[in-house]
Amino acid sequence: GLEETICSARSTDNLDDPSRADVYKPQLGYISTLNSYDLPILRFIRLSALRGSIRQNAMVLPQWNANANAILYVTDGEAQIQIVNDNGNRVFDGQVTQGQLIAIPQGFSVVKRATSNRFQWVEFKTNANAQINTLAGRTSVLRGLPLEVITNGFQISPKEARRVKFNTLETTLTHSSGPASYERPRV
């Protein structure tokens, strides 16, 4: 039975086709994921991948990987990336360019902003069904929290808490008004 099962198992998929994008905003770019639902063999090797392509000043909203580490490799262009660790410290704040690689450990929060005409990258994730959680946007953790938790947690007014919770309607990609100052990482 190997011929019909293991030998014929599909082991290839293409992530570069924008028409199969999972997240798509014409002005900002697209993101495609490949996990074991798309390619079952990934369940055996417990890995998955993500392809991203964003335009200048597009921002991938801050997020963390809930159940995986990620290895990000830049295939084209440049971006500014900030990464925050479990201690709330910024452990990376800088420009990444074509050919560079950066590892993003599980739970570490990351934000990416394209600083060239187009920033393209591939992420390898160490889980067949890697899941992200976002810090901002319509499906973010802040959106899921009661206003009371936000007002008490951050000591802000209910009015400010509403803005924090509801102002960003996007889920993944948004416009960024420009690159931030490049501060030294606060380790």
Partner: protein, 263 residues
């Protein structure tokens, strides 16, 4: 990671080795380097939340199984991508209007709009004996709405493949902080643990959340030294269903307004 970590010649009953004090409670942590815990691949903690204490949302790098040892309260988990199914929408605006500050929102009906006071993910009542499973990376909060302390014990599965970091429990704070730092970690210079927003530049937070810079700085909680369990002043008005045997507040209000009527 530890050679011969299960060569155990003697077992001991263990007491907590670290106590993290907060404004409205404390977190007691067992030393996960103790041989029997290291062999089991787990760590253990006890959360003691005083009356009106709110354990602010945080998530871990491991799966977690918790048990409510004493008291009662409320618990919320925020699961990525899930809808805000708890909604307070008692007011109706027949002529329409803004639901939120400057943003439209769902709930637009035929010629009328609902005005949500708030909407959030599921909130559950918890009481003594409840067992709560939490997956890695999922933010969770607790609130003690009882009169006695709410005591929750949790085991963290460090050795599971779901933990992809080292064999240490690592809390990530979305709000609040831990002024004492992660004292249970070995080989790391201890420094106060801040929330995640603290690590990003305030202008990044302002752009991502579409808020002003001042509010973004407030999210960073830099002047806050209340710890991760804070006291809630006044009522804690989250949307939650009534406990069995209780009637919904709105129903009681309506009845009070109109009196009882037969059909």
């Amino acid at each position: 990671q530890f050679p011969n970590e299960c060569q155990l010649d003697q077992l001991n009953a263990l007491e907590p080795s670290h106590v993290l004090k907060s404004e409205a409670g404390r977190i007691e942590v067992w030393d996960h380097h103790a041989p029997q815990l290291r062999c089991s691949g787990v760590s253990f903690a006890r959360y003691i939340i005083e009356s009106k204490g709110l354990y602010l949302p945080s998530f871990f790098n491991t799966a977690k199984l918790s048990f409510v040892a004493k008291g009662r309260g409320l618990m919320g988990k925020v699961i990525p991508g899930c809808a805000e199914t708890f909604q307070d929408s008692s007011e109706f605006q027949p002529r329409g209007g803004e639901q939120f500050e400057g943003q439209g929102e769902e709930g637009q009906g035929q010629g009328e709009r609902q005005r949500f006071r708030d909407m959030h993910q599921k909130v559950e009542h918890i009481r003594s004996g409840d067992t709560i499973a939490t997956t890695p990376g999922v933010a969770q909060w607790f609130y003690n709405d009882g009169q006695q302390p709410l005591v929750i014990v949790s085991v963290f599965d460090l050795a599971s493949h779901q933990n992809q970091l080292d064999r240490n429990p690592r809390p990530f704070y979305l709000a609040g902080n831990n002024p004492q730092g992660q004292v249970w970690l070995q080989g790391r210079e201890q420094q106060p643990q801040k929330n995640i927003f603290n690590g990003f530049g305030p202008e990044v937070i302002a752009q991502a959340l579409k808020i002003d810079l001042k509010t973004a700085q407030q999210l960073q909680n830099q002047e806050d030294n209340r710890g991760n369990i804070v006291r809630v002043e006044g009522p804690f008005g989250v949307i939650r269903p009534p406990l069995r045997g209780q009637r919904p507040q709105e129903e009681e209000k309506e009845e009070g307004r109109h009196g009882r009527h037969g059909n």
